[in-house]
Assembly symmetry: C2
Homo-oligomer: 678 residues x 2
């Protein structure tokens, strides 16, 4: 019994944010705030003080922030993370006898009681603080406190002693030299991973470099009737201007490495490729190299380096796809057979999902005896491309590799390069997706592609933007990918593409499209019921007519400009859904924390019919007073409407424009006062 710990009377409980008891960090980007709440209480009626402590990992000294006391034993404070890297925060709290004494003294004075003895008690606390100041080497302050203790005990007339007891400078000194030897330390140091801003706000465009050879620009024999020429990094660099004009900031390339020959797949995933067929970029490795080589038909490493620089000049970044698997022709298979599982007949175990077999792919055996060697080599692949200036990686199927591997790898890479961003392509069960985000993935693919109805979208995005998910899971929304051509896009026509684009771009601070398939409305599946594209670029070259009149490129450019100009769309906090009396209409708003920028989106989820209804706005969420009129300015059409009160009418024709993306303009007294130019 009676351990020294038992003298710590204060309980610190339910600290928020805290992921799994502090097992995992929360995520922020540079300049964001970390608001920390906790239940802090003790027995009896004494006054508590509680400090929020924070520091950069590696620094010795904690910064201290006094936590504010709120009702129901809640304490709250915040700090701002100034740089990339890892920060830590914790709490400490103690019973403060001097503050307790002052609170009680006030009551006694108000009740007209004799306080002579109480002043002696207070003098004792001040004297003790003076000793602590002396011990801390602050001799001047120690002497001041000792003097004040003497004055309070006897030196002054009663009036002056009372004034002294409530002197703010005394309070300040006493706070500084508070008795903290029995303070409760929270006992956990909670971590924050601080990324750069693109971790939170990014617009992705996926393209196959080999399909960037323009129509009619073919040279050599692999053109015309024989199909398009194999695109190169040089073609791809040409294409970057188009992508930049669309307003994207991340250009994501499928694997750029040599493609295996053994069991190479043909067009439309045919089991055997015909001679000359290009194969899947995800069958990585041939005699020409593996994960640290570029496919010769794309060009040279130097060409790739130029591509990275060109993108940077255009304000964009190249993101690479890292898929940890090998074609049977990959150099690793020869050089490190111990990194693969063997079947009882001595052959290497190919990938399978019984009864399906993927004989063109060998998975790594992450549990190999040479784990150290394998794991280090895989990490060195990231380092290799980081050497080319790449700072964003889309990781293929991370959920089929061990969790500890990712936790180790991401921490190691980010220790040296805190600006590296990892996007987890894990289309699997929710708890596994969330685990990968906890383990370190910066962004994550989501179920967005399959959430179509108002109920589905509302439920899913409320889950994603509330605690605990919002603290560690950053969704990246894709209406399509080379693997995902949803039914919504197959059957919804142009309105479905527009609707899904606007949903992705306004619901998610990060989103992406797989183009040019998306803007060119590519929607034919390989066969009915499949989400695979017919003539998918995964298995063959394609040529795209970017100038087609029906392209969505101008709309996309406008949507991306709206995103760049409106900070409300650059974060997922502040998402609020507003009821509409029509199940086909979805309405939601996003606001910046200071309320200065508010975007209200209303969208028709029905690609076939005009839908109309009354929106019942949550005016408080919009920062609008009930009696105040306000303007909504549709940033898509340019039209403006004057609204007042919560109920407002919306009508949307899918073939014209299935959505309003309103910027709210408030603080309006009359129509003449509209701030048209802000």
């Amino acid at each position: 019994m009676a351990a020294e710990r038992d003298r710590q009377r204060v309980i610190i409980d339910r600290v928020e944010p805290e992921i799994d008891g502090g097992r995992f960090p929360i995520k922020r980007v540079v300049g964001e705030r970390v608001k920390v709440d906790a239940d802090v209480f003790t027995d009896g009626h004494d006054v508590l003080r509680c400090l929020l402590l924070w520091r950069r990992e590696g620094d010795r000294q904690w910064s201290e922030v006094e936590m504010e006391t709120l009702p129901n034993d809640l304490f709250s404070a915040e700090f701002t993370v100034p740089e990339m890297g890892r920060y830590l925060y914790s709490l400490t709290a103690w019973v403060d006898p001097f503050r307790t004494w002052r609170r009680d003294l006030e009551k006694r004075v108000a009740a007209g009681q004799d306080i002579a003895i109480d002043l002696l008690t207070g003098a004792g606390w001040i004297e003790a603080a003076g000793v602590r100041a002396q011990e801390a080497g602050r001799r001047a302050e120690g002497r001041v406190l000792s003097g004040l203790a003497r004055d309070l005990a006897r030196g002054l007339d009663p009036e002056a002693r009372l004034r002294l007891a409530f002197d703010p400078e005394l309070v300040d000194l006493m706070d500084r030299y508070a008795e903290r030897s029995r303070a409760t330390a929270y006992g956990r140091e909670l971590a924050v991973v601080v990324d750069r801003e693109r971790a939170r706000f990014s617009s992705w465009y996926e393209l196959f470099p080999r399909s960037t050879a323009g129509i009619g620009d073919g040279v050599g024999g692999n053109d015309g009737a024989d199909g398009p020429r194999h695109g190169t990094f040089e073609d791809c660099a040409e294409r970057l201007g188009y992508v930049a004009a669309l307003g994207f900031d991340v250009v994501y390339l499928p694997p750029i490495h040599p493609i295996g020959h053994t069991h190479r797949k043909g067009k439309n995933n045919a089991p055997e490729a015909a001679p000359g067929e290009v194969g899947s970029p995800w069958a990585i490795g041939s005699e020409e190299g593996g994960h640290k080589a570029v496919h010769p038909e794309l060009g040279t490493e130097e060409d790739f380096r130029r591509l990275v620089f060109k993108a940077r000049d255009l304000g964009m970044e190249i993101a690479l796809d890292i898929a940890f698997q090998c074609s049977p022709d990959h150099p690793y298979v020869r050089e490190h057979p111990e990194w693969f599982k063997k079947r009882p007949d001595g052959t290497i175990q190919y990938a399978e999902n019984p009864p399906k077999k993927y004989e063109d792919i060998y998975p790594f055996d992450f549990d190999t005896e040479d784990r150290q060697g394998l794991w280090e080599e895989l990490k060195s692949i990231f380092d290799y491309w980081i050497g080319f200036g790449v700072r964003i990686f889309r990781v293929d199927n991370p959920h089929t590799k061990p969790f500890p591997f990712w936790e180790w790898l991401i921490a190691e890479i980010q220790r040296a390069h805190p600006d590296v961003i990892f996007l987890a392509e894990a289309f699997t069960r929710p708890k596994i997706m969330y685990r990968l985000a906890k383990l370190g993935f910066t962004q994550s693919y989501t179920y967005f592609a399959w959430r179509n109805t108002k109920e589905e979208l509302t439920e899913y995005f409320e889950e994603l933007t509330e605690p605990p998910l919002r603290e560690f899971f950053r969704p990246n929304l894709w209406p399509n990918t080379p693997d995902i051509l949803t039914e919504a896009l197959q059957f919804g026509g142009r309105p479905a593409f527009v609707e899904r684009l606007i949903l992705a771009a306004t619901l998610g601070a990060s989103y992406g499209i797989y183009g040019p398939a998306f803007e060119l409305l590519e929607h034919t599946p390989r066969e009915p019921g499949s989400e695979e594209y017919l003539d998918s670029e995964k298995y063959q070259l394609r040529q795209w007519d970017l100038a087609r009149a029906d392209s969505l490129k101008d709309l996309i450019a406008r949507v991306n400009r709206i995103r760049r100009e409106n900070p409300a769309l650059q974060a997922n906090a502040g998402l609020v859904f507003h009821p509409v009396d029509n199940e086909q209409l979805l309405c939601y708003s996003k606001a910046t924390e200071d309320g200065a920028n508010v975007i209200l989106t209303a969208i028709n989820l029905d690609p076939h019919h005009t839908q109309a209804g009354w929106v019942d706005l949550d005016l408080a969420a919009l920062g609008v007073k009930p009696e105040e009129s306000f303007q909504v300015h549709d940033l898509l059409s340019g039209l403006r409407y004057l609204w007042r009160g919560p109920r407002n009418y919306v009508e949307l024709d899918p073939w014209a424009l299935p959505a309003h993306v309103f910027r709210l303009r408030r603080k309006v007294r009359s129509e003449r006062d509209f701030d048209y130019f802000v």
Copy 2:
């Protein structure tokens, strides 16, 4: 990197129940189940096994229960706690290659694939299990497994090999000798405190022994015009028959110790007692002794011992009130002045809540230099009364003593006496009340007395009966106490008493009344706006006419009989509120886990008017099919009604009976089939 821990591929997460990351135990009573759920998952697609482990604290060997796999990566299992004391539970999980192999083999066979090599793989797993069996000293089973491995690899014809692969006995053996060297241990051992049944189900009656001298039975000078005679333990023993007839099982006595003289309070809390006034039993200690003595006017220790035995004979228990505070006359003040705080003038610090002063009470200084001595002495007070056969303690104001003290004390006492029950009388803020329950208090007072409206009652009892509270907080509901005469009782007349009684007795598995004030409808406050009784027994003797015609004793006896006969009312699990279209009517049901006993209560919260309305029953919660008619049998009035479907009419006159307490009688095909006798 690559620590051995990293080979544990399985994640065990969100284990329920678990209080504050395992910091505190959950509570059960003997024979109850502990159902454990957890998220368990791994990378990839392998089959997992997960075991729930449990054992009595102190035992070496875990019992293992295979956890059932549910959708969305949820696993579940349960165990039953057979005896009082502390139990531990934990989990372990691993990737099971043999089960994975069998699942895949099934798919391969179904797809008609060649499985020759796969059988060799399986044989390898079986061979390895055989080795493990051998190593575990199970040589016979080891040989069997080796033989089966050989058969599967080559010994048998193809048909027989396939049959062998799916043989249930093989599966059983393989499960028994599974490869668990890389199993993930959950890492926390979670505790269960197992109490006796009364911890969950108890009916309390509080009385002042000194007020048990019957009317006109006075002998000696302190009777008649001078007021009633001072009751004794002997009088109290006489009174026990009455309490037993009312159906209670715990008789709780305010402190029975010598009462101090210094600053003794007079009638109605007058600052100074007149000569001969009895004082408050909570001003503990005089020259006649302290917490280990009995007040001489109550009798001797031997009298008290007889009282305890008499109660036991009547199927009841005596509960004592432990209030850790001293009158200035307490022997501790003289013998251990170091256990009290001193003021700067050398006097001992009396209790206060500035500006209020309680000069008749000295609080202990729990932070005294002699903490060891003080804490041990306070514990010995419990031990002393345990020596008299007392096993239930109501602890006065535990929230004004340090949390670590209670955690230590309760654990120490229960280690030796697991049958001891502690009721926390902490009327304070919710987080502190809940903390005390986590620290070990068996039962807790609640805010029930002040929850009156349908919304208040519904919200509060949903909170109390859902996780996490239901796992550690056992509410004990009191419509009144000597300190609490609510406005509801002051102004609601007899209907309010009946209503509050029935609410307490049917909403709470444990409840209590302070009598005879309650059954005799005592409702006059000391002054308007006060919750104190006029002429409170806390400061003076009272005589009660138990035979008064308006006494609620017969109703109370009936309610307590209903509680004893209906297990649904003996637990708080299974509480469901049913909507009623009248805000003054509250309807709720409780059901046993097996659904065999269901009690449906409908109550009129308005003590002044008859209220009627339609109940919209949650039939599923009642175990009734939508198309099934069922009987509701009012155990209060004896009347029976035949109901069908969710909507049923209820009308309650507060002056007749403000409530129905229905027992549900189901499985009825026609009216003739009613099981009237069950």
